[in-house]
């Protein structure tokens, strides 16, 4: 696999020039993954078009579970581990993890919300006459806050850290700062996912 160098303050004995460490080559947006994204989005369009209960429920549950688990795992498990890794290990993990996140998160969020809205239409739960309407509006608010955080902070940090890593001599301080922003915002949305779980459990059991 091709390698590039990242400047760090510490000296280095051999291989790359002094003050530099190796990082694997990578694609900011993995081209092969785009095919999978296209397939998932096609399934979503088909599910909305046929408006049948099971494909809508399937996509909403699978997407919602993936969204929740990824946010919680990133924020509360991987984030603290990442902070304790050495800089080379951190950079290697980042170059392998973040390109996948560029494709996974927007797809999972789009599928969850679009399928969920259509499911609500199908079941009539989005109507204001629904007896748990207040709980549903609460879920809109929680998801809305999570969406603003994800779109305004998390996604830009994800792209920016990858562009920085792709440079011939990336700045480790910029990478660290952006990765902190990514992990903290993932943790914040992860914490809000707990509220979503409470609301969804209430909506399920009535």
């Amino acid at each position: 696999m091709a390698q590039a160098v990242v400047s760090v303050p510490a000296p280095h004995a051999e291989g790359p020039p002094p003050g530099a460490i190796e990082r694997p080559d990578f694609q900011i947006v993995p081209r092969a993954g785009l095919v999978l994204v296209a397939v998932v989005l096609a399934l979503l369009i088909a599910a909305i078009a046929v408006n049948e209960l099971w494909p809508l429920a399937f996509l909403h549950f699978v997407g919602g579970a993936a969204w929740t688990i990824i946010d919680l795992f990133l924020g509360f498990v991987l984030g603290p581990i990442l902070g304790k890794l050495s800089i080379p290990a951190r950079i290697e993990l980042t170059t392998r993890l973040m390109p996948k996140m560029v494709l996974i998160m927007p797809t999972v969020v789009t599928v969850t919300l679009a399928a969920g809205w259509q499911l609500g239409n199908h079941l009539g739960t989005v109507q204001s006459s629904y007896y748990l309407h207040g709980w549903l509006v609460a879920s809109y608010i929680v998801v809305g806050i999570m969406a603003v955080i994800a779109l305004g902070l998390l996604e830009p940090a994800n792209i920016a850290v990858l562009v920085e890593l792709k440079k011939p001599r990336p700045n480790p301080q910029v990478i660290e700062r952006l990765m902190k922003r990514f992990i903290y915002t993932a943790g914040a949305t992860g914490a809000m996912q707990v509220a979503t779980l409470v609301i969804m459990a209430k909506l399920t059991v009535g």
């Binding site: 204001s128 305004g152 440079k167």
Partner: protein, 139 residues
Amino acid sequence: MSERRLPPVTQIGMLSLALIVAGGIYLAAHLPHQVPLTPAIILLAASALLLAGNLTALALVKDFAWGRFFEIARWALLAYVVIAGMIEYAFLRDQVSGGALVVLSLSLVVFALHVPVLIGFTVARYDAEDEPSVDGVPA
């Protein structure tokens, strides 16, 4: 890490997105009843004004890495146009019509423009002017 002063593009962008989301929640929370569109229109107008303000403030920044900004923002725009298109499709599929459809469609336009601006800005703010682009073309 020394940083030059830049306008608060991210903060304003997030506020703009929050206003769009608030308008959408207001409309969605009252379904299927017709509700006055005025609050949603005010939220949309404020959000669009913040987008315009953000672009103006950014345009006034000297020595900003515009090459890098457009390089990233154009691909992000493509991605978010696709996402906005899917949401629009869902609105049409659910027979949303009239004033509500206009407000929601314009909200999607602001959303699809502002998110790429935020992504392009976040990337370009850390970019030195002499850095080559990720495609090997000078930024």
